[in-house]
Amino acid sequence: MEDIKAYMETGILELYVLGDVSPQEKLQVEEMAAKHPLIKAELEEIELSMELFAQENAIEPAEALRDRVLNSVLTNFNDDSTFSAVADKTEANVVSLPAAKSNSFYKYAFAACLALLLASGAALISLYGKLQDSYSQIATLQTNNQHFANQVNFKEGELQVLRDTSFKFLKLQGTAHAPDAGLTVAWSPARKKVWIDLRSLKMPANDSTHQYQLWALVSGKPVDLGVFDKTADSADMKEMKSTASADAFAVTLEPKGGSVSPTMDQMMVIGKF
């Protein structure tokens, strides 16, 4: 007990509270305080009295300093939220807030409009591209449609020949000049129409300076019925010039465009009724 009293008498506890001790002394005091409740109580007494003394000596700092200090504390801690000022100041600040709010509203609204405009533009461009595609597809389809319509018309004509009972079919036979040649001719005296079936045509392909020419022999005289070509894919029926009467039909090879009278030594096929 005596030691403790003497220890307190040295005044070390007061210096400890004032922070005016070496690190070793500091540790020593803390150890003593932990060990002896009396010293701890004495320390608390000294601390309390110094605190009260400071309160007696208190000087109110300038009001503006509060915000400055508190803001700098938070800024130093990387906290960007700001302190609210004293109540009446906060109210004064509130007035300016709506203006700032509406400002930013228009800013955002403008940005949104701009974004919308850009998006619409992009959409328009892509739609325009698709529209062009559609147009070209329609054009292709129309062409195809026309083609099919033409083919149907043509096939109608072919079918007409086959279904019309007034047509007579004549198979022309190869001559001595071309024994393997052959061609089927359909002729309707009533309608004065002549068709040839290119599918049945058996002749060598003609070159670009020559064409085959069909003749009708009417009372022993040859009558021109038009020219035709033999190509690899020729498979249709072809309508020739019309004639009302014919004794026989013949085909000769003639210069391109046909001749006025047949070249007899180039006769390919002939057939008589």
Binding site: G11, L48, S49, N57, I59, L65, L74
Partner: protein, 170 residues
């Protein structure tokens, strides 16, 4: 409060400021005469309190003791720093009379009039030692040199002065 400060709650540092800023500022502004510098030191004090709060524990004593020592140390560092000394040296000649007066004079500041009675209850030698150590930022060793008194006497006087204060507050 200590718990809230540990949890870094904004409201805690606000409350801390409202409770203690005037006490801390009272000490700081007696160590440093210049108002702007005192305000800077008060700001630094709260930044440091906030920053190094983890090093405070209730075991070691009252929160205020810990804070006031931070404030006093910062104020004394500032007072002794080169910048501050140069700043004082560079003051114009005609102002020196008043500023020297101000630096020497802590008791006659108008804010201090209220506590004059309290300090009057102390004996003159107790008052001068408390003045030097508490308000001028002297260590007790420096105070012994300044007053030409042995260290032991300084410690005893300081103890007596503080006991006088305790009696006054009780």
């Amino acid at each position: 409060m200590v718990l809230a400060l540990r949890n870094r709650e904004k409201i805690a540092i606000e409350a801390l400021y409202d409770m203690y800023s005037s006490s801390l500022y009272g000490v700081i502004s007696r160590i440093i005469i210049d108002t702007t510098t005192s305000e800077d030191v008060l700001q630094e004090t709260f930044v440091k309190i906030w920053h190094s709060f983890s090093s405070y524990s209730t075991e070691k004593g009252r929160l205020f003791t810990w804070m006031i020592n931070i404030a006093r140390n910062l104020a004394i560092d500032k007072l002794r720093s080169k910048d501050f000394k140069n700043q004082n040296k560079n003051q114009e000649l005609e102002n020196n009379v008043t500023s020297i007066d101000e630096q020497r004079n802590t008791i006659y500041k108008p804010e201090l009039l209220g506590i004059k009675d309290l300090v009057e209850t102390l004996k003159p030698e107790q008052k001068s030692i408390l003045d030097l150590v508490y308000f001028k930022g002297y260590t007790h060793v420096e105070a012994a040199e300044e007053l030409g008194i042995p260290l032991g006497t300084i410690k005893t006087r300081l103890r007596m002065a503080i006991q006088q204060l305790r009696k006054h507050f009780n």
